[in-house]
């Protein structure tokens, strides 16, 4: 588990994360005042000088695997479901976030001088023992410490590294008695989310991200959990997203689903929850057929119905836990169940990111769910 030491130095950084992952996440009362100031700063003047996602662009690989420093926020988000030969199940997450502290680029005359902040989260869900191991890292962008590059592909925060090529990446990250050492191989081409990769998140122009996914990455490798090594294989999912501003103030957070079915199809869905309790009509999704054909889903194409909840003993936050997804184009209802309830990230910002099972009669599989913006009230 995350060590007791407060490794998170500045509460202000939380605010960047709020903007990156979801509004209002993990703030407590003492942060409220500075939260609003920083929100104002981040959503107003602070975004000047950065590029914005206004219209679709053409994606090029491997160049777009690398960083886009002209945008404020960016992430490389791997999640996956892994099994040992005996069938013992694990979930994992490995994410590197990039956040620009200032829009101008810095001449690297000093190895420490940088405007880029990198941070990374790593988590392993040990389903059999119902334990959850999560860690985080922070560093400034500097070749010697943290960064991202396209040729050859590499993103790293100190000794946590993902690198290789577009379609073949090795992830190595360890903390304490936990370690990921995985080889990921793309079995399908990259999927451009939203409108040819432009994913609108709120009504204001420019409040959008560029977003692509690699929905099926065959994965083999080793996990170390509590000092024990397991050889595993399974499937992973990569989400790549960069933006300057995403959510609007009336939005509260999102529920995101990345599901991989036994029939080699995949489904991505997210719904943006508004503060008034309704669902934003910009919520959307994507179907990926076994042969790679895709179909964009609009908010009218699906409905997400929570079936239960779980209250974290750690934070007291009540998270939805279990859903029915009504996917109209496929004409199925998928029952999504967390592989274990506690997959709450104990990081500086609290969110829930966990392995799930999918049962849809003919459509069965596994996946990952991300919940943000809960527990603010």
């Amino acid at each position: 588990m995350l060590s007791n030491r407060n490794i998170f130095p500045f509460r202000g950084i939380v605010l960047i994360l709020i903007m990156a992952i979801g509004t209002g996440c993990a703030t407590n009362s003492e942060d409220d005042e500075s939260a609003s100031t920083a929100l104002a700063a981040l959503s107003g003047a602070d975004t000047t000088g950065y590029a914005r996602a206004h219209e679709p662009r053409s994606f090029a690989f491997p160049a777009d695997d690398g960083p886009h420093p002209e945008f404020k926020t960016e992430w490389w988000y791997w999640t996956g479901n892994l099994f040992t030969e005996e069938g013992r199940r694990f979930g994992y997450q490995f994410t590197v976030f990039r956040n620009a502290l200032a829009p101008d680029t810095v001449l690297q005359t000093n190895a420490w001088r940088s405007n880029q902040l990198y941070f990374a989260h790593m988590a392993i869900s040990d389903i059999q023992s119902e334990s959850f191991h999560a860690f985080e890292r922070f560093s400034r962008g500097s070749p010697a410490l943290a960064g991202a590059q396209a040729h050859p592909f590499r993103v790293w925060v100190e000794d946590w590294i993902a690198g290789g090529a577009s379609d073949s990446v090795r992830i190595v990250a360890a903390d304490g008695s936990s370690k990921l050492d995985l080889l990921l191989h793309a079995e399908k081409p990259a999927v451009l989310q939203g409108n040819d990769g432009l994913s609108r998140k709120s009504s204001a122009p420019g409040n959008a991200s560029y977003y692509y996914s690699r929905t099926r990455l065959g994965t083999t490798g080793q996990l170390i959990v509590d000092g024990k090594t397991f050889s595993v294989s399974g499937t992973s999912w990569l989400d790549r997203e960069w933006s300057t501003s995403v959510l609007a103030e009336y939005q509260e957070g999102w529920d995101w689903f990345a599901l991989q079915f036994d029939d080699e199809s995949e489904l991505m869905l997210y719904q943006l929850r508004l503060k008034d309790g309704t669902i934003d009509s910009l919520s959307s999704g994507m179907l990926v057929e076994p042969d790679g054909r895709t179909r964009t889903l609009h908010s009218s194409d699906f409905r997400i119905e929570p079936t239960g909840d779980w209250t974290s003993p750690e934070t007291g936050i009540r998270w939805p836990s279990g859903w029915l997804l009504h996917v109209h184009p496929w004409d199925v209802t998928l029952r999504v169940t967390p592989a274990q309830k506690n997959q709450e990230m104990p990081t500086s910002i609290r969110y829930w990111e966990g392995a799930v099972d999918v049962d849809g009669g003919s459509k069965n599989g596994v996946g990952y769910v991300e919940l943000t913006g809960y527990g603010t009230n």
């Binding site: 030491r5 950084i13 810095v106 940088s114 400034r140 010697a144």
Partner: protein
């Protein structure tokens, strides 16, 4: 305690305000000195701890380098390849501001993302916009609210920072508001900046001062694993070893101060004793009457003690206030000395601890009551019938004289034992000085009696009958005169002892400077604080050599180091000996071959280094030094006398140094001039040529010598100030004692006047008596003071600092001290003499 009695006692003091005032003053001065010095010591210690604690934070270990620091690639490797956590890079240096008369501050460069486990104050209350500025805008700083107030800065303001030759306009990114008192205090002298800015502002691009580690159970690695990762030349050590090395240096210094302040208190006790007993003696009649009307012995004693306690409380309270003021002044001197000699102190807050105050009150009231014990007993013995008779105190003294004398001798023996025992403890040495003084004081009554008897003929010869009368009078009142003489003797002997010690020290240093500073002009990089190892390019030497009057040069590289083995010490690499005739304590191969031995890889040790590390003056010794290529043994070719630093110095040949250390910089260049050249003019020209930006300090031989002696004198300012205080306390004591001695004799004087003694005879009688007391005190003070000087020079200085000094007695000083004693005594006799001269015999005898 009967209230009526207490009121009667206090009424007495109201009628005799001078005595009450003297007692209050005596207590106040004694308490003030002790409290003042204690405050200075405690504050210096706290300030020092604050300075270091704010820097080390929670680190359990530190990786340190040699001269330039640690390449930051070492940190990157530990972090990104070896995954060593928690770990934090740190850069620190001293910078000068343009505020508050060029106040120096510590600049601490940190990586905010590594900091939280180490120095939480950076994380406290810093919000995102501040962090953003700190990281993205070069040369932005954080400082505490207190410091911001001192420097009159607000967020967004600019502060000019200098670190020669660099100069930056730093911008205040934010104000730190630590809630915890200790942290607040620690940040009092510090600016925090991002590591990138710190490297740029301190001219340390690519280097770190150290890497902090927290190697507890949750850490990724343990100490041996880390050590194995380090390249040669880098060391893993505990932060305490650094601060304790510095503390052990300053300990000796603060102990010296404490000892002097105790000396002042002892002298103060004499004063209290005198004043209290005087007031009792004068009131024998009153006590007799009180006893006659029914007051019990116990009640009388309780009255005396209560009175004393009341006055002592007033005195102690005044002493506390005076002491706190004194503490402010003393702290400045103490921290100046610590900064001069050991390490730059950026925090100099006065800490008035409850402990210091309690100590003062306890000593003030306790000492007063102790001093009042004997007089109280005397008061108890006042019986209604016998009040007019000469009191039993003299008889009792006669009775216990042999015991006093034996105790005195015993104390002298004990004192010598403490000195002669082979140990390095400075506190025991000081104890022996105090025992010595006490022992001598106890011997005074016995010796005084003999001396008076022997000197009777002489006094009769000199002053006739009046001289003989004076001598007898002194012997008769031994119980009082002893205390007066002891107080005066101790005060004067402290003057003699401390002055002789400082004089000898100075004399030794002057001699040493003249033989050691052989070159004519010295060029050094500016001193930005001890412990800073900045250097300059070797090109400096060529620039100096190009001056037409310079015949040859020698360079020195001076490093201030701390090692587990030798503590805080200096490593000096010299290209040639600049001493015209280096004074050696011991050489292995003879003085003329020693420099050759150095070229072959041997080292020289300064005397304090050899003393502190117990390296004997005999062949076959070696020292092990952490070079950039690992730990190496260097044979010792000799021990030389060195008074420049009590830290201890290892002198090594420049070529040998460059072979084992990768450092290429130099710290100073010594230039030898052609015989016809004028050193002051050459220094002036070099200054103009080199020093437009304050890059270098150019000094002629004389200039450097003066600067060295300046620091020397500054170091002893506080010693001299304390000694003056002790003397003031003593004089007050002597004055009151002698005055009391005379005033209580009004009846005797009346009789004498009635039987025909003239007014001028009377004045002569009294002045002869006090003059004899003064002469005797002065005579006694000279040997006692000289013995004290010997102990200070040959025992305490050696044990504190490892220096051998040459005794240098200045007869004029001795004569002065002697005259001071006589004059003080005569002055004290003047008022009673004039007063008795005016007394009509009939008045003086009226009571009879």
């Amino acid at each position: 305690m009967n209230r009526a009695l207490l009121r009667s006692g206090l009424r007495y003091h109201r009628r005799h305000p001078l005595q009450a005032a003297l007692l209050v003053l005596g207590v106040a001065l004694g308490v003030a000195v002790v409290v003042g010095i204690d405050i200075a010591n405690v504050s210096a210690d706290r300030s020092f701890r604050s300075s270091t604690n704010s820097l080390t934070g929670a680190a359990t270990h530190q990786i340190i380098g040699n001269a330039q620091g640690i390449p930051d690639s070492v940190f990157f490797r530990l972090r990104s390849e070896e995954g060593v956590r928690p770990s934090a890079p740190v850069i620190e240096g001293i910078v000068q501001t343009d505020r508050e008369g060029g106040r120096t501050l510590r600049l601490l460069g940190i990586d905010p993302f590594s900091e939280a486990p180490f120095r939480s104050y950076v994380a406290e209350g810093v919000d995102f916009t501040v962090l953003q500025r700190l990281l993205t805008q070069p040369h932005t700083i954080l400082l505490s609210a207190d410091l911001a107030k001192d420097l009159q800065l607000n967020a967004g303001d600019t502060l000019a920072l200098t670190r020669p030759p660099l100069r930056f306009a730093a911008v205040v990114a934010g104000i730190l508001q630590p809630e915890e008192e200790f942290t607040r205090r620690s940040l009092g002298g510090m600016l925090v900046t991002d590591i990138a800015s710190a490297q740029e502002m301190l001219g340390m691009q690519g280097y770190l001062s150290r890497i902090d580690l927290l190697l507890d159970g949750a850490a990724t690695h343990d100490a041996p694993e880390i050590e194995a990762m380090l390249p040669a030349g880098l060391l893993l050590q505990r932060p305490e070893s650094r601060s304790s090395a510095i503390m052990s240096m300053t300990d000796a210094f603060s102990l010296n101060l404490t000892a002097l302040s105790l000396l002042a208190l002892i002298v103060g006790m004499f004063l209290i004793y005198d004043t209290v007993s005087f007031s009792v003696v004068r009131r024998r009649e009153q006590f007799g009457i009180l006893r006659a009307i029914g007051a019990s012995r116990k009640q009388i004693a309780a009255m005396v003690l209560t009175e004393t306690a009341v006055l002592a409380t007033v005195g102690s309270a005044a002493g506390l206030i005076l002491g706190i003021l004194l503490g402010y002044g003393a702290l400045n001197m103490v921290s100046q000395t610590i900064s001069d000699l050991y390490t730059t102190m950026t925090v100099t807050d006065v800490t008035v601890s409850a402990g210091s105050l309690a100590k003062g009150i306890f000593l003030g009231i306790g000492a007063s009551l102790l001093a009042a014990m004997a007089p109280a007993r005397e008061a108890m013995s006042s019986n209604p019938a016998g009040v007019m008779r000469r009191m039993g105190l003299e008889d009792r003294l006669q009775h216990i004289l042999p015991a006093l004398t034996m105790t005195g001798l015993g104390l002298l023996v004990l004192s010598s034992l403490l000195l002669l025992l082979p140990h390095k403890r400075v506190d025991l040495s000081f104890a022996s000085v105090l025992l010595f003084l006490l022992g001598v004081s106890l011997l005074i009554p016995a010796t005084l009696r003999i001396v008076m008897r022997r000197s009777l003929p002489l006094l009769r010869f000199l002053f006739g009958t009046i001289g003989a009368m004076a001598a007898r009078s002194i012997s008769r009142a031994l119980s009082r005169t002893t205390v007066a003489i002891a107080a005066l003797m101790i005060a004067v002997s402290v003057i003699v002892g401390v002055n002789t010690m400082i004089g000898s020290f100075r004399h030794t240093v002057v001699n040493w400077l003249s033989t050691t500073l052989g070159a004519d002009v010295f060029v050094t990089i500016p001193f930005t604080g001890a412990g800073q190892n900045e250097g300059t390019d070797v090109a400096l030497e060529q620039r100096i050599l190009s001056h037409p009057d310079v015949s040859r040069t020698a360079t020195a590289r001076t490093l201030s180091l701390i090692s587990d083995r030798y503590g805080m010490h200096q490593l000096v690499a010299v290209s040639d000996d600049i001493a015209s005739e280096r004074p050696y304590k011991w050489t292995r191969d003879g003085a003329e071959n020693t420099w050759e031995a150095l070229r072959n890889g041997a080292v020289l040790l300064s005397e304090p280094f050899a003393y502190r590390n117990g390296i004997p003056a005999e062949p076959g010794q070696s020292v092990s030094l952490h070079t950039d290529s690992g730990l190496r043994q260097f044979p010792v070719a000799g021990i030389y006398l060195d008074y420049s630093s009590d830290k201890g110095t290892v002198l090594i040949d420049d070529a040998v140094y460059r072979r084992y250390w990768s450092d290429r910089k130099i710290s100073s260049v010594a230039a030898f001039l052609h015989p016809s050249a004028n050193p002051d003019r050459v220094a002036e020209e070099l200054r103009a040529q080199l020093g437009t930006e304050g890059l270098f300090v150019v000094q002629s031989n004389r200039g450097l010598r003066d600067a060295a002696l300046d620091i020397f004198d500054r170091t002893f300012t506080i010693t001299i100030a304390l000694q003056l205080l002790a003397v003031i306390v003593a004089f007050t004591g002597v004055f009151s004692t002698l005055m009391a001695l005379q005033l209580e004799r009004s009846r005797e004087i009346g009789t004498l006047r009635a039987t025909g003694m003239s007014r001028s005879q009377m004045i002569r009688y009294i002045l002869t008596e006090t003059g004899v007391l003064g002469i005797w005190s002065g005579l006694l003070a000279l040997p006692v003071g000289l013995i004290m000087a010997l102990i200070l020079i040959f025992v305490i200085n050696l044990r504190s600092f490892g220096w051998t000094l040459q005794l240098h007695v200045q007869p004029v000083q001795l004569l002065e001290a002697f005259l001071v004693a006589v004059l003080a005594a005569l002055l004290a006799g003047l008022y009673p003499a004039i007063r008795y001269g005016r007394v009509k015999p009939s008045e003086a005898l009226r009571v009879e």
